[in-house]
């Protein structure tokens, strides 16, 4: 098999980033806790039967599983119960006065200057944004604001209902030998190479080590034609976050001549997309239209689109 993978230029890693926007819902007590921070109040919840007060406020007591209808406003001072340093910042568990569980937050101090048992006090952001960072940090010393002890309060009127959030996730996908060769062939010679099953001789695209149908190994690369048959299609009008092209366009599944698998691509050409439903038909021949050589980057998008072959 080693002779299958001879090129020194085989690509190694594909780096991709998913950037996904979210609107998170804190819900009930957590929403009221966040709203409270904007008013420089630290709200916890108290389970009377368990005699436990936790912060941030929770809708449910983790000890007994019952709902905790009682909110309490906590003092702004507390004690460091443990800490660590991350990127030069001190992250600490802080036991606020009157609470029975710790709050995880940042202590604005040098790592060497913090010890378990230190007294710290809440420090507030100048401009609240409805997020945990409205409580900017804890600073060493005594609290100068806030109630003297945990004080019962009515359920707050205000609540933060939505928090914008975003995940930017970067991945480094390994091509491996089969995809490496296949994309190298695509990038170097603009040809599609599938792997051929040693037993049933089906050609599989994308190339892979094992045949899906008979589970035998594949033993050679075969060039697959850039013409094929339109197996299925739909016309995309919908827009969505993360979409890579502008609607309308055709979503197409194509079985290339010489292969036994589906290639996902798009069909376009000398027809109006409004008429795609009547112009295109399942089973029709299509042919790849390649981008100009200067624009090819070694991905499936080197093929601009497939166009119907008019016999």
């Amino acid at each position: 098999m080693s002779q299958l993978f001879t090129s020194p230029d085989v690509p190694q890693v594909l780096t991709t980033t998913l950037s996904i926007p979210y609107t998170l819902t804190p819900g009930g007590a957590a929403g009221q806790f966040l709203a409270g921070l904007a008013e420089r109040r630290i709200l916890g919840s108290r389970c009377e039967p368990c005699a436990r007060t936790v912060v941030p406020a929770q809708d449910v007591c983790g000890r007994c599983g019952e709902q905790t209808p009682d909110l309490v406003e906590l003092p702004h001072g507390g004690t460091v119960t443990s800490w660590t340093a991350h990127q030069g910042r001190v992250v600490a568990k802080i036991r606020l006065d009157g609470a029975d569980a710790d709050l995880l937050h940042v202590v604005a101090a040098e790592p060497g200057a913090v010890e378990v048992g230190d007294r710290v006090a809440a420090d507030w952001a100048a401009e609240p944004t409805g997020w945990i960072t409205d409580l900017a940090a804890f600073t060493p010393g005594r609290a100068r604001s806030g109630p003297a002890e945990a004080t019962p309060v009515a359920r707050a009127e205000t609540s933060v209902e939505m928090v914008p959030y975003r995940l930017d996730l970067t991945y480094h996908h390994a091509y491996g030998p089969y995809y490496g060769r296949m994309f190298d062939e695509l990038g170097s010679f603009s040809r599609l190479m599938g792997s051929r099953c040693s037993s049933c001789h089906r050609v599989l695209l994308p190339a892979r080590a094992i045949c899906d149908v008979c589970f035998a190994r594949t033993d050679q690369f075969d060039e697959v034609s850039d013409t094929g048959v339109l197996q299925a299609f739909s016309v995309i009008h919908m827009e969505f976050v993360g979409q890579t092209r502008k609607p309308p366009y055709v979503y197409a599944e194509i079985v290339l001549d010489g292969s036994s698998t589906r290639l996902i691509h798009t069909v376009a050409g000398d027809f109006d997309l409004a008429d795609a439903a009547s112009t295109l038909s399942i089973g029709m021949k299509v042919k790849a239209v390649w981008k100009p050589e200067s624009e090819r980057v070694g991905t499936l998008e080197d093929i601009a689109y497939f166009e119907p072959v008019i016999p």
């Binding site: 996904i20 979210y22 998170l24 209902e161 299609f233 919908m238 499936l300």
Partner: protein
């Protein structure tokens, strides 16, 4: 063989966005209702299974850890099960196996998704190969629309037949107090609605919902202490790869295999006659048509005729989705479990305004992808 039954079920009020609860609050709401329905407390529950869709839907990894306190499940076994659109049923099957294996006597299954929080189609598109096809992916909708067109040509699953599914399920959802969408639509409305991924149009598509469902399953001894258990006569969930060679995508092999196995276990040879009521998970209207054939309610190519005949209407001889199905609400991770809950409530006589009279044998189907993940269960008011 040991028998297992559904002894309680509950669901949330579903909505496009539930701003009053977090993910955990949503899950708790359903769990509390299921416990009330079963007249049990968390003390009676030996094990908890959490079933949700991909974590990219709502940006919280290992959400089951977050749920432990909210469910009152501290120091109980809690695991998460996920399997595409059929996640809720995969969770229920794991619970059945925990009971049959002797690990637990009663298991709480909680399934939910809070789809308002993330980017749905983008998240679903990440199930495609990052090297090969993801750049053209349109969630599962572009793909489904493409093969619906193929089924139209080969099996006669026309846009008009699919529109009848939309009309029926929307109308049934009017009776469902938990439904997210409650509005009547006509065939003309569906056909004239905006194309999203032609041939799929806006009114072929269920809502995107925040919602949760919980079901309590019990072994035979525990279930006998319940007034009206819904006995699970058979349950299966099968899958196959999506990019394998030589796949026609016209009929679902996993559905055929799952139905055969479950019918054999339940002693069903003619589902159309032996089953009283059916709940199926229809991500788009065209799916319900293909399930009619895959479940053997009609021969291949007979689905359009079956919906046109009125047989699957709430007053027909084989009612399908009297609850309104996904058209009423579609919190994806919970949807499959909602189908199980609905069918169990039917044979327990607890389906309220959409109760099918004297329903004794219920059939449910759930799954994900266009054809590659499919599960089936039969429940009845009597055990094997």
């Amino acid at each position: 063989m040991s028998n297992v039954a559904v002894v309680g079920a509950g669901q949330t009020h579903h909505a496009r966005r539930r701003t009053d609860v977090s993910q955990v609050g949503l899950a708790r709401e359903a769990a509390v209702r299921a416990l009330q329905d079963a007249e049990l407390t968390m003390d009676d529950i030996d094990s908890v299974i959490v079933a949700t869709g991909p974590v990219l839907f709502a940006a919280v990894n290992q959400p089951e850890k977050w749920l432990v306190d909210a469910l009152g499940a501290r120091l109980k076994p809690v695991v998460r099960v996920t399997s595409g659109g059929g996640t809720g049923l995969a969770g229920a099957l794991a619970a059945v196996n925990q009971i049959k294996g002797g690990f637990a006597e009663r298991v709480l299954v909680v399934a939910y998704d809070k789809l308002s929080e993330g980017a749905l189609q983008y998240s679903i598109s990440t199930l495609y190969d990052p090297f090969w096809g993801r750049e053209f992916a349109v969630g599962i909708m572009g793909f489904s629309a493409a093969y619906w067109k193929a089924r139209m040509d080969l099996l006669g699953h026309t846009e008009e037949a699919a529109a009848l599914v939309s009309v029926k399920n929307h109308r049934n959802a009017l009776l469902n107090p938990y439904a997210h969408v409650r509005k009547e639509v006509t065939v003309e409305d569906v056909l004239a609605s905006r194309p999203l991924c032609w041939p799929i149009k806006l009114l072929d598509v269920p809502p995107i919902s925040d919602g949760a469902c919980a079901v309590i399953l019990a072994g035979e001894d525990a279930a006998k202490r319940s007034a009206d258990p819904a006995w699970i006569r058979g349950m299966a969930y099968y899958s196959e790869g999506e990019n394998a060679a030589d796949r026609s995508m016209i009929q679902s092999e996993p559905l055929r295999i799952a139905a055969e196995k479950v019918y054999r276990e339940a002693g069903i040879s003619n589902p159309r006659r032996q089953v009283d009521v059916v709940e199926v998970q229809e991500p788009y209207t065209c799916f319900e048509l293909s399930y009619y054939e895959g479940l053997g309610l009609c021969p291949p190519g007979g689905a359009a005729q079956l919906i046109e005949s009125g047989a699957t209407q709430i007053d027909g001889d084989i009612p399908v989705n009297p609850s309104g199905g996904c058209m009423g609400a579609n919190p994806i991770g919970a949807t499959a479990l909602i189908r199980l809950a609905e069918i169990a409530q039917q044979v327990r006589g607890r389906a309220g305004a959409y109760q099918i009279p004297d329903a004794k044998v219920g059939l449910m189907q759930a799954g994900g992808g266009w054809a590659n993940l499919r599960g089936v269960a039969v429940v009845s008011s009597t055990k094997n």
